[in-house]
Symmetry: C2
Subunit: 474 residues, 2 copies
């Protein structure tokens, strides 16, 4: 199979669709679209052309053209992805949704917001906050990421223990299919079994089953009370051991975030922030929310007591929003901090049953020692979703690092599989984990995925080269 | 395309797979498997053979045999379905899951239960209740229905306003694919984006994409407090008008159930029950739950005040569980009561955006008058999911009834489509609504469904004839 090329005639046709100012072919401008937040050295690849549509009709016309010429398409949101999903590995046409950032409708009666896919998640959050509402599925990269990208990756976030992830809040979406048809899936409906749940299939399919152009998001009334607990421990193990114990109490916190020392110290350094407790071995940041301040208080006290009984060094109740926001900012910026401070690394996204997370920490320590690397760890402990990060020792040569990283990941992923876990909880498979998915997945499951991909995208033009290889299948 | 037939050799092979006592071909025994809870007169069809496997391996072997001989398979749970999904329209092999009713694992650390698909939902509920846990996605037919059927239909229930439907609680499932392969999808994971969400695609696919043989169900701590409000109105419109108003308050009730007079009177008659308030024009049954009794009380008071301010005749706070259980029993038995007391009828399952439900009642009144039939209505008002029931006037001849029912449904469904709604919220399309789905669905969406069905079930043996016709597609 060979793809068609982006000829001057194709570029002219793209210009006719979206206008000349929305089609870029100069190398300088293309550069920004060669990578996402994964390592540029390992994964970057340039598109032949970047197109910036503003309407669904533009997107559909571009996709139809790409099918006619068999040119690969890569859809892209903010480029804040962590698995290489927006990288145009086969060149071709990159469709950036960044100019499709309009609010379509705020429906207060049904408590929904409809937006174009390129709307920045924070803009959406601010728009609805004015009405006392919030989008509970927001991810950690809320300041830059876009709704369409959140949907493509089924992004998680810091409130998933209580509120779940993006997919729970997507009531409907407008999809441009891989062959360029336009269809709305779902609607403003609390339930719907009128045929297959195609909407949920598209969510998390990383742009391989079409391009989401608009979405209807379910909003929730802002909880009237919220409070945070910061709990310090002498070691990561002591912190993580408490998580399943906490969840068994019947209290459902909004989120339980975990950071080990290297993770929060790296983020503090990056932010030029000083926290009074930054020498602790590990910390948990626990949020509780609800409509009744007394109930929130009671839950926090119960959690605090439990922590003190089971090995916590200190329990701080955050007194003001400002102090809390500083700690959350440290937590949110860890990934970015490692990228800047320790650029040669691999940010992982394993997820295991919550009761099994205490087993993960000793294994990470063992793997770090075995492969000569540091493996700091942080993440959404309450979801069993840990961002272990393999960090290259500056003394290690690059070839050894690449070999050790690969071997270490294979061991880690098999260990996770043995616990009943998966290799990605919220970042996706994309390009970064594609070579590993088959190792830890029943081939029957991969074949079922491939069958859908082939049936919807017979020419394999829609974000090809992501999640699995098509040609290796039956 | 013609299907193969169930020859004596096929029956012998089935007996070799599951044992002679688990394969039935005598007409008397087959009769019970010819219909579900839809009208037998209109939809019943006999299978050629009923097989009662007890293991996943049995199911897989039967499906492989069916593929080899191209014999249609119809999977069946309790037969409590309301859209004809379990009716073997093309004869062939009916696989009843009724003997696959075992508890596989109760995992208190992860708060999950794993069960075979044939476990009765009530048995599952009782098992976990002993540990203070509950399955929040339970449907109204909880006393008879089975977990596998709940999953096949993505069943709703009386708690969906707060807790959502079955699909939210299915963490993992074991599937025998349409070609007889066995695969586990999902797991005990709070989040997972390791490839397409095939688990969610299977949920609600009405047995057309394979047979669910086991499932991992997420459990929730039993709320420590729950209370109900029974609110009487002089008309259905007055009751329904209050529902979106209530939801806009920011209080999230567990459920808001609606019954008009004919619905609850028919159920009372069937149950030989007398309620003191059964002459009201309509009623809402509102449940609130939570961990804090004072907060539950406060929410109920706020809802009661709102009802009194906006047209309620009477507001009763249920004083004891026994009184509450009597009203819930009336609500749960309406469908069965209509089936017995008014057997010639069509139970509908429309779902609309919550803010639009007040528009539905006048339209039902108009359609009833136009087509000479009563259309009583009840259902999950808080989800926008109403069980309007077209009831034949005894004076109308049968041919006119069938013609009028068809014309009335087409009008109703188009009206619902115009509101942004769908024709089934929780009962499914199955056989009963198959002829109508195309009327109110974008052909692109149906083609995407068909493409998946063809890709997974190339011989079309897995519950064929449900949801859509395959041959009419591209």
């Amino acid at each position: 199979m060979t793809y068609g090329t982006v000829t001057p005639a194709v570029v002219a046709e793209l210009r006719a669709i979206v206008g000349g100012k929305s089609v870029w072919i100069d190398e300088e401008r293309l550069e920004a679209y060669t990578h996402d937040e994964t390592s540029s050295d390992e994964y970057a690849h340039a598109p032949d052309v970047v197109v910036l549509p503003t309407t669904t009709e533009h997107v559909a016309a571009i996709v139809k053209l790409a099918n006619r010429e068999r040119i690969p398409i890569t859809p892209r949101g903010a480029g804040s992805g962590l698995s290489g999903g927006a990288i145009p590995v086969f060149g071709g046409i990159l469709i950036s949704l960044e100019r499709m950032d309009k609010l379509v409708e705020l429906d207060l009666d049904n408590m929904t917001i409809t937006a174009q896919a390129g709307m920045v998640t924070n803009d959406l959050a601010h728009t609805v906050a004015e009405h006392g509402l919030f989008f509970a599925g927001y991810p950690m990269s809320v300041e830059t990421c876009q709704i369409g990208g959140n949907i493509a990756e089924n992004a998680g976030g810091g409130k998933a223990v209580k509120y779940g992830v993006t997919g729970r809040y997507v009531m409907g979406l407008e999809l441009v299919t891989p062959t360029g048809e336009v269809v709305w899936l779902g609607g403003k409906l609390a339930k719907d079994v009128s045929g297959y749940d195609l909407k949920q299939l598209v969510i998390g399919s990383e742009g391989t089953l079409g391009i989401v152009t608009q979405a209807i998001i379910k909003l929730t009334a802002y909880p009237k009370a919220a409070s945070d607990l910061l709990v310090l421990f002498d070691s990561p193990r002591a912190a993580i051991d408490l998580v399943p114990r906490m969840l068994r109490q019947g209290i459902v916190p909004t989120g339980i975030e975990f950071m080990d020392r290297l993770s929060f110290q790296t983020s503090c350094q990056y932010l030029n922030e000083t926290l009074p407790y930054q020498d602790a071995g590990a910390m948990l940041l626990i949020e509780v929310d609800g409509n009744d301040p007394a109930a929130v208080e009671a839950d926090l006290l119960a959690i605090g007591d439990l922590c003190e009984k089971h090995g916590a060094l200190e329990v701080y109740v955050a007194e003001d929003r400002n102090a809390v926001e500083r700690v959350w900012s440290v937590r949110r910026n860890i990934a970015e901090a490692f990228k800047v401070e320790r650029p040669v690394q691999s940010l992982e996204d394993i997820v295991v049953p919550v009761a099994s997370i205490p087993d993960v920490i000793p294994e990470l320590e063992r793997l770090g020692a075995a492969y000569g690397m540091q493996i700091p760890c942080y993440g959404h402990a309450g979801d069993g979703n840990l961002h272990a990060t393999l960090v290259k020792d500056p003394a290690m040569d690059h070839a050894t690092w690449l070999r050790n990283k690969d071997a270490c990941l294979r061991e880690l992923y098999r260990f996770v599989q043995g616990l009943g876990g998966k290799i990605s909880g919220e970042h996706g498979i994309g390009l970064k984990r594609k070579a590993y998915l088959g190792d830890v997945t029943n081939p029957v499951e991969i074949d079922l995925m491939r069958a859908i991909k082939r049936a919807w995208d017979p020419l394999n033009v829609m974000n090809p080269g992501k999640i699995f290889a098509l040609d290796a299948g039956p």
